[in-house]
Amino acid sequence: MVSFGSAGCTPTVRVEVAPINIYARLDANVRVRLDQAVQTLIQQNPNLF
């Protein structure tokens, strides 16, 4: 009696999750505050941006 391992019978399913545009869905007030913080962030980190 030959038994086969199940590994070879398992189909590979690649799930790609599309990135959600969280930024676009932010509350307007939050987005304004965030944009200001980001502007400062970019200016203060010239080695990163």
């Binding site: 969280i22 965030l34 970019i42 990163l48």
Partner: protein, 131 residues
């Protein structure tokens, strides 16, 4: 049972000693990940950006327009992306949003700062050359 008492005596002895000698604990609250990224890494990335090898992604990170064969460049990109994650985390905490949102918000401003000819990749799109 005697060892238990011994342990207790040891503990109180240690406590007494630690209270008697002031311990100086230095906490660096000014740790900036930007310091970890060298100017050389930034220069390599800027050059690659200008040549169209890497570009800005909609999630706020650098990405390869075409697969890279340069391990130094790959390391520089990884280092800068790691630094960006850290500042996104700080910004997210400060503004009450997620790290992802901070990255996406930054991407919008970075797209605007790109020079014509450089590449960007919208969240749900492909690499696009800025005109």
């Amino acid at each position: 049972m005697s060892s238990w008492r011994y342990g207790k005596a040891m503990l109180s002895g240690v406590l007494a000693l630690s209270l008697a000698t002031p311990l100086a604990i230095v906490v660096d609250l000014t740790s900036s990940p930007a310091v970890a990224q060298t100017a050389a890494e930034k220069a390599a990335v800027d050059g690659a950006k200008a040549r169209g090898l890497i570009g800005e992604q909609g999630d706020g990170y650098l990405g390869f327009v075409t697969p890279s064969t340069d391990p130094m460049l790959a390391a520089a990109v990884a280092a800068i992306n790691a630094g960006r994650t850290e500042v996104y985390r700080q910004t997210a905490m400060r503004t009450g949003v997620t790290v992802e949102a901070a990255g996406q918000a930054t991407a919008q401003q970075l797209f605007a700062r790109l020079a014509p000819g450089q590449f960007f990749k919208p969240l749900n799109g492909d690499w696009t050359r800025k005109t």
